[in-house]
Symmetry: C2
Amino acid sequence: MEEELKCTVKHQDIIERVKTKMPKEETLFDIAELFKVFGDTTRMKIVCCLFESEMCVCDIAELINATQSAVSHQLRVLKQAKLVKYRKEGKVVYYSLSDRHVEIIFNMALEHIQEM
Amino acid sequence: MEEELKCTVKHQDIIERVKTKMPKEETLFDIAELFKVFGDTTRMKIVCCLFESEMCVCDIAELINATQSAVSHQLRVLKQAKLVKYRKEGKVVYYSLSDRHVEIIFNMALEHIQEM
DNA sequence: CTTATATATGAATAATTGTTCATATATTCA
DNA sequence: TGAATATATGAACAATTATTCATATATAAG
């Protein structure tokens, strides 16, 4: 009589195949960290501002109706994730998107939610 | 003598222009919520498993080295975000990605982090 | 009907994180 | 130099969230 096998034993071949294609732990961590940065409404608002043109901190604050402090904190997060860059002009700091990837990722998400 | 203007007053035209192109508050919220779902290593591991083929809960757990409970909780989050779907076969539940968008968004992020 | 397996879920806990407030730094101008 | 403006930042607090543990539900097999 055949012995009942546990699910994980039955599908062992699938597990092995998937295991070889799985990205490295570190890569997955970095990807999750990147998405975490995108996963905040305030930061998404900031990013949207910067689609149009570079912009200074207090204009962003005014535009998205947030305090200067909150915006500054969130710009630091975006900067650490290398999603934005900045240039100083006197006492004003202008932020802009570091590359086009940000907009592509954003639009892909927009597409996804609009299809549901 | 010209009076010193505040930054927000000087750039008022930019603010107006950006304001008209800004997505709705609700849309931005939904996008951030979607990215929040992507912003967790465990969920990213689960998603990677499903790139290959549909897979049952306990195989996913085995593969990513997590408890059945943790995987089940996270699958619920993915399900609520409509990123995965499932089918039951006896007592086994097979999960799979609901559409190709998930993989596209994932790969875009992968590209981004690899370029830095 | 009883046991074993697969999955789901509620509660509790620990950790992470976004905002606010106060304040520091830097720059410009009078 | 002193006042005003723009930005950055540390600390505190509140809110969110991922995991664990215990247990519930469902199905299959004997």
